[in-house]
Every structure is written in structure tokens, then in C-alpha cells.
């Protein structure tokens, strides 16, 4: 009886009397040295170069300064909420546009279904009027979205103007002066080139052909969809090739540059250890520890740069994807309802949206890949 009572008491104690233990939640990375270096690098000023909507979105995920603790505290739910709110904002206009185009196609299908004789000579005229109506419903929201791409690219360019010097300075202070100069030259050059090509060549060309293809619904014999498809294929190939070449070049030069940096560091350490009497070894070790502690600032700034880049591009990319989906969906519905001319027009619009999407993704990937390579390259 005594044993049973002991067992019961032990069980009660184990089940109800135990205390819950949690892992430590707060990360104490922000030591005095880190803060000093952060202030000296003026890296926090990159937030001033961002557009208001980007700063609001960053606040939503709790990133308002370059702090490793804040980066580590970022929760998947916050990221999901950010994506969800961007989706909700981006999906409204495409849905409205799709609904209005579907309404036009329903009216067209009523006419098509109600035609009183088999060979109605009114069909081409009514088809033109419907396509005109659909064209007008497409052209304004689609062009506003494509112009938004140009604005996003400009915003990113402004951000890079503030970010690259700050990140390069941190990289150099981490003992990677050669790698940092390669990063600076290549990323500045590539971002500038892609921005100029996008804004001065691709966007006007796409805008012109898109406007022409919409106007050409008035003349059914002229079809611009082939030219738009051709531009889309060429643009996608060129962008893919350039991104691959850029990534390869940055990786090779970055790796070589980092090796050269390592050699310089080791030489400096050797000279410090051998030439400075008595405390030479300590000076060399101090150098190593300073570079190691600076790597936290480098990783934080790099990771924040990647997150900021994603946040800048995310709303526009989501909006374009929604537009592309809306165009494709309406085009399929048009084919089902027999509205061939509207369907062709929507296919052209979908291809144009694809070109803009490829351009934006390429630009974003360029920055993300470059920064990620620089974060990963470390001097030994």
C-alpha cells in the first residue's frame, strides 16, 4: 500500500508539478563593438533611400534597422502575412479587369449564339466592336502595371546607390578589399545596364508593340502577336544568358579575389607577428578577431540587402503574375466562347506581361545572387 501511494504521488508530482522550461528567446548579438561598427559604416542609412511602401512592408516583418537579432526574430507567419498583403493589393486590379473582359466576352457569345442566319455578315463588325471594348479594358490597367515595373527598377537603382557603397565598405573592413571592389564594379555595372536596357529599350519596345497590337484589332488582317512572341523569346534568352554569365563571372572573380585577400591578410598577420617585437603575435591574433567580428556585420547587412531587394520587387512581381494569369485565363475563356480576336489580343498581353516579369526577376536575381555570393565568400 505504501509503495502504491509513493508511485501515485510520484506520478502526480511528475505530471502536474513539473515546471516548463523554455529555450532562451532573446539573442544578445548587439554588443557595443557591433553598434559602433554599424554606426561607423552608415549602413543603417540605406533605409532612407527606400520608397515609403518598402519601409512599411519592412516594418511589417519587424526590420527597421540592421540588427542580427531582428533578422533572427523574423517569423514565417510575418513573411506569409507580407506576401498575403502584397497578393491582396496586387490581385484587385487584374480581377476587375478579368471580370470586365469576361462580361464583354459573354455579350459577344450572346451575339454569336443568337445570330439568325449561319453566315452573318455582321459577325466581323461585332467581333471588332467587342475586341475594341476588350482592348480598352486591357490597355489602361496593363500599361499602368508595366509602368510600375519601370518605377520599381528606378527605386531599386536608388537603393543600390546607397547600399553598394555601404556593403562594399563593410566587405573591405572584413578583409575582402579585392572581392568588394569586384562586387561593386560588377553589380553597379550590371544593375545600371539592366536598368538602362529595361527602361530605354525593352519597355518602350514592348509598350509600342502592345499599343499597336491593341489598335490592330481594328484591322484583323494585321497580326502583331508573332512579333511580340519573337521579342519575348529573344528577351528571355538574352536575360537568362546575361544572368548566367554574370553569376559565373562574379563567382570566379569573387573566388580569386577572396584568395588574394586571404593571402594579403596572412602576409599582414605574418609581418605583424614577426616584425613587431614582444606583442607581435597578439597584434596578429587581434587582427584576426576583428575581422571575424566584422563578419557578423557583413552577414547582417548582406541578408538585410537581400530581404530589402525582395520586398522592393515582391508587390510588382505579384501584380504582374496576377495580370499574366488573368490574361491567360481570359484568353482560354475567349477560346471557349469563340471570341478568337479577343483571345489573340489577350495572348499578346500575356506575352508582354511575361517579358516584364522576366526582366524584373532577372534584375532581382542579379542583386540577390551577387550579395549571397559575397556573404558566402570568406577569407581563411
Amino acid at each position: 500500500m505504501k509503495k502504491i501511494s509513493i508511485v501515485i504521488l510520484t506520478a502526480i508530482f511528475v505530471l502536474f508539478g513539473s515546471m516548463t522550461a523554455y529555450a532562451q528567446q532573446e539573442y544578445e548579438f548587439e554588443d557595443e563593438y557591433y553598434q559602433e561598427q554599424l554606426e561607423a559604416s552608415v549602413a543603417n542609412e540605406i533605409f532612407d533611400s527606400l520608397p515609403d511602401y518598402t519601409n512599411e512592408m519592412l516594418d511589417q516583418i519587424g526590420i527597421d534597422e540592421l540588427s542580427p537579432a531582428k533578422l533572427l526574430k523574423m517569423q514565417p507567419e510575418q513573411v506569409w502575412e507580407l506576401i498575403w498583403s502584397a497578393l491582396m493589393q496586387g490581385v484587385t486590379t487584374p480581377i476587375k479587369m478579368a471580370a470586365s473582359i469576361i462580361a464583354v466576352m459573354i455579350i459577344y457569345s450572346i451575339f454569336d449564339g443568337l445570330k439568325l442566319s449561319n453566315k452573318s455578315s455582321l459577325t466581323p463588325v461585332y467581333s471588332t466592336v467587342s475586341a475594341l471594348c476588350a482592348g480598352l479594358l486591357i490597355i489602361v490597367p496593363a500599361m499602368s502595371c508595366f509602368n510600375g515595373c519601370s518605377e520599381v527598377m528606378e527605386s531599386c537603382q536608388i537603393f543600390l546607390t546607397a547600399y553598394i557603397p555601404a556593403f562594399v565598405a563593410i566587405l573591405a573592413s572584413c578583409g575582402q578589399p579585392i572581392a568588394s571592389s569586384i562586387y561593386s564594379v560588377l553589380l553597379f555595372g550590371a544593375s545600371e545596364s539592366i536598368c538602362i536596357i529595361g527602361q530605354q529599350v525593352v519597355l518602350p519596345l514592348v509598350r509600342m508593340f502592345f499599343a499597336l497590337s491593341i489598335v490592330c484589332v481594328l484591322i484583323p488582317t494585321i497580326d502583331f502577336s508573332g512579333i511580340i512572341n519573337g521579342i519575348s523569346k529573344v528577351a528571355t534568352w538574352i536575360l537568362s544568358l546575361c544572368t548566367t554569365l554574370y553569376a559565373a563571372l562574379l563567382t570566379i572573380q569573387g573566388a580569386v579575389g577572396t584568395s588574394a585577400d586571404s593571402m594579403t591578410l596572412k602576409t599582414a598577420k605574418y609581418f605583424a607577428s614577426s616584425l613587431v617585437p614582444v606583442v607581435g603575435g597578439a597584434v596578429g591574433e587581434a587582427m584576426s578577431s576583428i575581422f571575424s567580428s566584422m563578419s557578423l556585420l557583413k552577414t547582417t547587412t548582406g541578408a538585410a540587402g537581400i530581404i530589402i531587394c525582395v520586398v522592393i520587387f515582391l508587390p510588382q512581381i505579384i501584380e504582374i503574375i496576377c495580370f499574366k494569369l488573368a490574361f491567360s485565363l481570359c484568353s482560354s475563356i475567349g477560346q471557349i466562347l469563340g471570341a478568337d480576336r479577343i483571345s489573340t489580343l489577350l495572348k499578346s498581353a500575356s506575352t508582354v506581361a511575361g517579358i516584364m516579369l522576366a526582366l524584373l526577376i532577372c534584375y532581382a536575381m542579379l542583386i540577390i545572387i551577387s550579395t549571397a555570393i559575397m556573404i558566402m565568400l570568406k577569407t581563411s
Binding site: 459573354i106 459577344y108 463588325v125 471594348c133 509602368n147 518602350p204 502592345f210 499599343a211 499597336l212
Partner: protein, 129 residues
């Protein structure tokens, strides 16, 4: 609109028209026209809910209903023109049929003229940017 009544009107008027045609072709044409008009009116009744649904959709999504109104006007013109053209064709007046169709096309294009102008204007604005 009940499809039964439409079918009944169609069959009865066709039989009547065939019977009368031998003795008085003019009356046969009148019977066909009358039956056609009756069916068209019944058809319009059934089109009203579809058009109301489209209008409701346009109101709910908050887009400008002007374009849809023009499209619906063109739909009305097309149906009436086709009906008149078919009636002329039945009466053996091929030339009148073509004229009616031409008038219908012109009416549709005139109705859609604001759309054309707006589209060209917007396209020019975009290309000039």
C-alpha cells in the same frame, strides 16, 4: 420565354405560311414576319435577365459601364438588323437584304466610334511616353 410556346408559334406559322403561299404569297410573307417578330419579342424577354446579370457584374466590380453599354447597343442593332435582313431574304429581296445589313454595320460602327477614338487616343499617349 417558354421554348414550347416558341416552337409552337414557329411550327404553326410555318404550316400556315406554306398553306397560304400557294394562293397568296404576300400574306405568307406577312405571316412569317409576324411570327418572327413574336419570337423576337419572346427572345428579348429571355435576354433581359442575362443583360441584367452583366450589368450587375459591371456595377459590382466597379468598372465603367460605358463600354458595356455601347456593346449592348451594338448587340441590339445586330439582332434587329439580322432579323430585318433575313425577312428581306425570305421575301426574295436580296438587294434590300444587303442594304439592311450595310445599314446595320454602319449603325454599329457609328455606335462604336467613341470606343475607337478612345483606343487610338490611349495608344498614341502610350507610344508618345
Amino acid at each position: 420565354m417558354s421554348i414550347l410556346s416558341v416552337a409552337a408559334v414557329g411550327i404553326i406559322s410555318a404550316l400556315l405560311s406554306l398553306t397560304v403561299k400557294k394562293y397568296n404569297p404576300e400574306i405568307a410573307i406577312l405571316i412569317s414576319l409576324g411570327a418572327g417578330t413574336l419570337i423576337l419579342i419572346m427572345l428579348m424577354d429571355s435576354l433581359v435577365p442575362i443583360i441584367q446579370t452583366v450589368n450587375q457584374l459591371v456595377d459590382e466590380i466597379g468598372i465603367s459601364g460605358d463600354y458595356i453599354k455601347i456593346l449592348l447597343k451594338c448587340l441590339g442593332i445586330a439582332i434587329l438588323t439580322q432579323f430585318a435582313a433575313d425577312a428581306c431574304k425570305d421575301a426574295g429581296e436580296q438587294m434590300l437584304c444587303s442594304q439592311v445589313e450595310l445599314a446595320g454595320k454602319a449603325a454599329m460602327l457609328i455606335t462604336a466610334m467613341p470606343l475607337m477614338l478612345k483606343l487610338i487616343e490611349t495608344a498614341l499617349e502610350i507610344m508618345q511616353k
